[in-house]
Symmetry: C2
């Protein structure tokens, strides 16, 4: 079969704020081939990502992503890899291409799974989908009390692992941040995993990040996530050398395998966190999972949006028993909640697994999405290159 | 003064081919502030770059580039750096942002130079604009004979340095490529600089690239450019270790300072080639030039398009006397030639310098550009976010 159609759906909450809540909008991708349909999601800015699919060619090494996808054969995983390689070369000067491809690549795996009646993780070579400990991924409150209240709520909701991120951390002094770390630990109790994410706030400033280590150690944080810019490998390595107990984590910004590999090899992170919606999809993420295993680095998914993205992000390490922790969007927007008719729920022991159903195993609820659809049109040189397609 | 307006102009030749000729379209940026106007150019896919400026915010770390630029104060270089830092943080999840910012950043330097009546290189701290040896940047022919003919023509045009790139290199065996390298050397004569650019054709395949080294050495090539993907630092280092006489060159794909630094520190390149239209503009490129000097690496501009881009790309190392070679678009499209009313011409000794005139020293010929303007419109949620502005 050949890829017949690729449709992008730009969805958004009515109001989008400056909070670090990545679930406020979404870019879903629907791919059709041979009577089957697959779904994927770009964890990316919707409009530029759509533009990178439909834009006119600039030259041979700056072609739109569509040129490598539409009409391409799709009979097995090797065809997906071939499409990815073609995008890497033919769109090398189109920076946004990796983000655009990510959602398409997921959708291709989903579609292939529908056709073969196999879950994606099995096509990746895993025998079983192992149980993972989901951590509630939450934003810090504006005050330590608010942070503590959110921690208590997540604990009451049955989570035994929690991550707090962004918010005011790094904007005042280390003592203020320590109060938040302590509040988070107090809120969840002594027996739970606590992770801290500071969203690149220290850029490349190793001393500023290191000033937070004593409080993180006192709060028994499992990891300290994204202290620096995604490319600041030297800073990551310097901090890792100064942090014997709290592991340094990062990787969500990786938009190709090499960036993730470098964060491990040059940045010495202990946890590598990959978002399938940015790194180019499931294939590259799986490659990183294999590289991580060979290095003794723990692989973790990065997912802050929908359960479609969650399923995709679990696939690359679904069968890796020793990598137990997974990110779980605990308080996503109404839009993000509307995407999956069959979300991935925690079992009796509070754990989750990548679905057994074919493909990604997620049924996209197109009716529920209609209120969030953002009508978009792009015209170039008198031609309509993109107009929001119908969700029906 | 404050930044009042940022206008993007998408220009294109009537026909765009798959040749590796980056001058077939262009994205110019015009910035207005305090009664002054500055011009810049993104070396990037026009439509996604425009979209990254006008798109709605997705969340606090995925804001459009416009949010960091419009209304911002502009009184000195420190304000430009502040805008760049803001884009890096507030648009961290918007991959295309660096390419969009690049043209704006150039235009801000140009505008500041108009206001201060100073060339950009002086604002960067250089005392003089030093002479550079321009190398004619050409594409390989389809056959060795064609390559040789192009070399002869460039030699007849007075060029004493030439670079051949892309074309069929790497698509057949090493012997075929050797014929092209020999033809290029035969065409330009023994006394000229010859550089070879293979446009990432070997991805991460060190052996395939190394198989070309003997012929490059025999042709006395000064450098071997972009054998691998922009992020393949390990492959660069492995090849560098095997190439004692032909220097390895790369860097045009760098979309931030860290990528360029890593190509030097982890990839061991001997020549670092920076395109101001991709790395975020002149400020980051200047930072790379300083890092290169400290490391004994030679800085070279990457420019394959207009003389506006050429001037911008010369500024970061205009005053560095020992870095003598510069890329010079020798056969750009009619569109690229139309941009500058006052192109940077070779002097009696065949050399060029960054202009002495204020800012970038290039007068954009808006009348000449009108035939190439591509009417573009982007509508989101019933609102027109972008419509091609007037060139008047």
């Amino acid at each position: 079969m050949k890829i017949e159609a690729v449709d992008f759906f730009y969805l958004s909450m009515p109001t989008v704020t400056t909070a670090a809540d990545g679930s406020q909008d979404a870019l879903l991708v629907r791919v059709a081939a041979g009577g089957h349909v697959g779904w994927g999601e770009c964890e990316a800015a919707p409009l530029p990502s759509i533009a990178a699919f439909v834009c006119p060619m600039s030259h041979g090494a700056c072609r739109p992503v569509s040129a490598s996808v539409l009409g391409a054969p799709l009979t097995g995983p090797q065809d997906i890899a071939a499409i990815s390689a073609r995008v890497e070369h033919d769109s090398m000067d189109l920076l946004q291409a990796a983000h655009t491809l990510s959602g398409i690549e997921m959708a291709l795996w989903d579609l292939l799974g529908q056709r073969r009646q196999e879950p994606v993780w099995r096509m990746l070579g895993f025998e079983r989908s192992e149980s993972k400990i989901p951590y509630a991924s939450l934003l810090f409150g504006d005050t330590p009390d608010e942070t503590q209240a959110r921690a208590r709520k997540a604990h009451a909701d049955g989570f035994r692992a929690m991550k707090f991120g962004w918010g005011p951390i790094g904007t005042a002094d280390a003592g203020y941040d320590a109060d938040h770390f302590t509040a988070a630990r107090d809120g969840i109790g002594a027996d739970c995993h606590l992770m801290i994410d500071v969203g690149q706030i220290f850029a490349e400033d190793v001393e500023a990040a290191a000033a937070r280590l004593p409080a993180l150690q006192a709060a028994q944080a499992t990891w300290f996530e994204e202290p620096f810019s995604g490319h600041a490998f030297e800073a990551y390595a310097a901090l890792a050398a100064r942090s014997p107990t709290v592991g340094i984590a990062g990787g969500e910004a990786a938009h190709n395998v090499a960036m993730a590999r470098h964060l491990m090899d040059f940045g010495h992170v202990k946890y590598i966190q990959i978002d399938c919606g940015r790194i180019g999809g499931i294939g590259p993420a799986h490659e990183v999972a294999m590289l991580a295993r060979a290095r003794g680095v723990t692989f973790v998914n990065h997912t802050f949006t929908t359960h479609l993205a969650l399923s995709a992000s679990l696939q690359p390490y679904a069968g890796m028993r020793s990598d137990r922790i997974c990110e779980y969007p605990a308080a996503p927007s109404a839009l993000a909640q509307a995407v999956a008719a069959n979300p991935i729920l925690r079992d009796a022991s509070g754990e989750i697994r990548a679905p057994e159903a074919p493909g990604l195993g997620i049924t996209v609820d197109t009716e529920a999405l209609k209120p969030y659809l953002v009508e978009t049109e792009i015209r170039v040189g008198g031609q309509v290159l993109y107009a929001t397609p119908s969700l029906d």
